[in-house]
């Protein structure tokens, strides 16, 4: 299953509910031409679980890489990165599924029931972006120290971000 097949399979399954889908092939021109395949898909946040379920159906053991995320205006955008067809020579596809949740009610379902390896990343999203992961088996913090103030999310850019914890030495006064 190559990058275009993966994209088309998602397009068929989520007709109308998929917001964007593209593939990207990066060519390496050396003595032999090789390429890296990337698929980027944006789905509605309510369809995240179904998208991961669909992914588990079309390939055996998708490899979960990580979730990346950032704040964009009123929304939080999270991208779930997976690797498919690994352990084969040059057929690997990196699939990134992007979802968008509003900052007022940032809730996403857990995918740890389908892919247990996603636990650390989901815990990270809870503390770093303030997304609530519904059904997460372990909701403790992971990278932030227990002494780090509650309600401050380091990856946010608004008033809940870490700006007030940063010492601006040039302003004087220090802590």
């Amino acid at each position: 299953m190559n990058a275009n097949d993966v994209r088309d399979s998602f397009k068929r399954r989520f007709a109308g509910r998929i917001m964007a889908a593209r593939t990207e092939i990066i060519k390496h021109k050396l003595k032999q031409v090789r390429h890296a395949s990337r698929v980027w898909i944006t789905v509605d946040s309510g369809e995240l679980k179904n998208a991961v379920r669909h992914l588990c159906k079309i390939t055996e053991h998708p490899h979960f890489i990580v979730i990346s995320g950032y704040e964009k205006g009123k929304y939080l955008e999270l991208t779930y990165h997976f690797s498919l067809n690994y352990a084969s020579v040059m057929e690997e596809v990196v699939l990134s599924i992007k979802v968008r949740v509003s900052k007022e009610n940032p809730v996403l379902p857990t995918i740890t029931d389908l892919i247990p390896g996603a636990l650390i990343s989901e815990r990270e999203m809870q503390e770093m972006l303030g997304v609530r992961i519904k059904g997460i088996p372990d909701s403790r913090r992971i990278f932030l120290h227990p002494g780090f103030p509650q309600g401050v999310y380091p990856w946010r850019r608004d008033e809940t971000g870490p700006a007030r914890l940063v010492r601006n030495l040039h302003k004087g006064g220090g802590r």
């Binding site: 050396l30 031409v33 395949s37 890489i65 990580v66 352990a87 390896g117 996603a118 120290h145 227990p146």
Partner: protein, 419 residues
């Protein structure tokens, strides 16, 4: 906030809690393991990572891509090429920068030298954990050569600072190529000797065989990467699956234990075997790269300010991946046409491998903790003590004591093996 001496989850009279770390001789990394043990058997595993979160990703979003190169080198002392390599690839894929072939070869050579140095360092530490200090000294002596070569190529023993977006910063001349070739030959021989020392030794074998097993099924479910995954029979290697740098020309094949010992069990022994054989594999890759190295430019753009100007107008998101000594390094970068990236996510291999400690340690013995913990080659920084608490008693297990326990177990085994 809990202190190291507090009792964590004391369940009943039969079980007691033991916490190892955040600084510990075997872990060398700031992670704290909270274990519940019944007698000598481990029944529950939990870990805390929050010891040294430095906010590097946050710092990155306030710097330009060239500054981030040097910041990303400081994520990890050992994998400093890995993070810059992955970051460069992410930015290059967004900006559509083509890296000149010669630069790809130099990048590959330096990355493989780093793998040799990391694996030998790990072999030394593993030997020390087993109480086999002569092998540790042999490994550390062998590692000096690769550090000298790295110093010759880059100017530094550890922090290489050779990567640049679109190429590398330093070229390699003929004399250096000869030095690298010599080192590659040396490590081919060295890897055979290390294999003989580690894999042929009956004490190491009885100590590590069937210890800390990670089954193929658990490995796939927990998404392990690198030698940890390969030792469990999952042929996952970015150099093979999605070749980059000079790897398309070299053709790397993922190393699994069945090619070395004839079977795959996913235990500590297999992880040692895979890493030691990868030293030889790296030496071969370096040899081929030096032989086939094309002539030409070493960077897309020599002047940093011109490069920065070019990157300032770029928008988009990109992924950079690299097979580090411990597994896949993954960087996600989002550029929005400003000086600093809008978002930067770094995924180091240990991030995924940590969860695999749980199935490895369940049912193991306290004396096996250092060996199992070290077997995934965790990369996180170090309190040389563990506190054992139980009803009515409290005892501090220092570095010496825990290490002694491990050495004692090896000696007992050795006595048992003697005819």
């Amino acid at each position: 906030m809990r202190k190291a001496g507090d009792i964590i989850g004391q369940e009943s009279r039969d079980t007691y809690s033991i916490c190892v770390g955040p600084v510990h001789p075997a872990l060398k990394e700031p992670v704290r393991l909270n274990l519940r043990v019944r007698g000598e058997r481990i029944e529950h595993v939990d870990f805390e990572l929050s010891q040294v979160h430095r906010g590097i990703e946050w710092m990155g979003t306030r710097r330009n891509p060239i500054q981030i190169l040097y910041l990303s080198e400081r994520i990890c002392g050992i994998c400093n090429i890995c993070h810059t390599f992955a970051f460069c690839r992410a930015v290059e894929s967004i900006a559509g920068i083509e890296v000149p072939p010669r630069a790809r070869y130099i990048r590959t050579i330096v990355a493989e030298l780093e793998r040799i140095h990391s694996h030998i360092l790990w072999a030394g530490v593993a030997a020390h954990e087993l109480g086999f200090d002569s092998a540790m000294h042999y490994a550390f002596r062998a590692r000096e050569k690769v550090l000298d070569v790295i110093e010759n190529l880059t100017g530094n023993r550890i922090m290489k600072a050779i990567m640049m977006i679109g190429g590398v910063r330093r070229d390699m001349d003929k004399g250096q190529a000869r030095l690298v070739m010599e080192a590659a030959d040396f490590y081919s021989r060295c890897s055979r000797k290390l294999e003989k020392i580690f894999l042929g030794d009956p004490v190491i074998k009885s100590r590590t065989r069937d210890t800390g097993i990670l089954t193929r099924h658990d490995c796939l479910a927990l998404c392990s990467v690198g030698p940890t995954a390969r030792a469990s029979g999952v042929r996952k290697d970015v150099r093979q699956d999605e070749p980059y740098g000079a790897y398309p020309d070299v053709g790397v094949k993922a190393m699994t234990p069945d090619e070395i010992t004839g079977e795959t069990r996913g235990d500590v022994y297999d992880r040692i075997a895979v890493r030691l054989r990868e030293i030889k594999q790296s030496a071969d890759i370096i040899g081929r790269c030096v032989k086939d190295m094309p002539e030409g430019k070493i960077a897309h753009e020599d002047k940093a300010n011109v490069l920065l100007g070019e990157l300032r107008g770029v928008q988009g998101e990109g992924i950079g991946r690299h097979e580090a000594p411990r597994g896949e390094v993954f960087h996600y970068v989002k550029l929005v046409g400003e000086e600093a990236p809008y978002s930067w996510k770094v995924r180091a291999p240990t991030y995924n491998n940590l969860l695999s400690w749980i199935p490895m340690m369940l049912g193991a013995q306290i004396a096996d903790i250092p060996v199992i913990a070290a077997s995934i080659d965790p990369c996180m920084s170090c309190t040389n003590r563990a506190v054992v608490t139980g009803p009515g008693r409290r005892q501090v297990l220092g570095q010496d004591m825990l290490h002694d326990l491990s050495v004692k177990r090896t000696r007992e085994l050795r006595r048992g093996l003697r005819p």
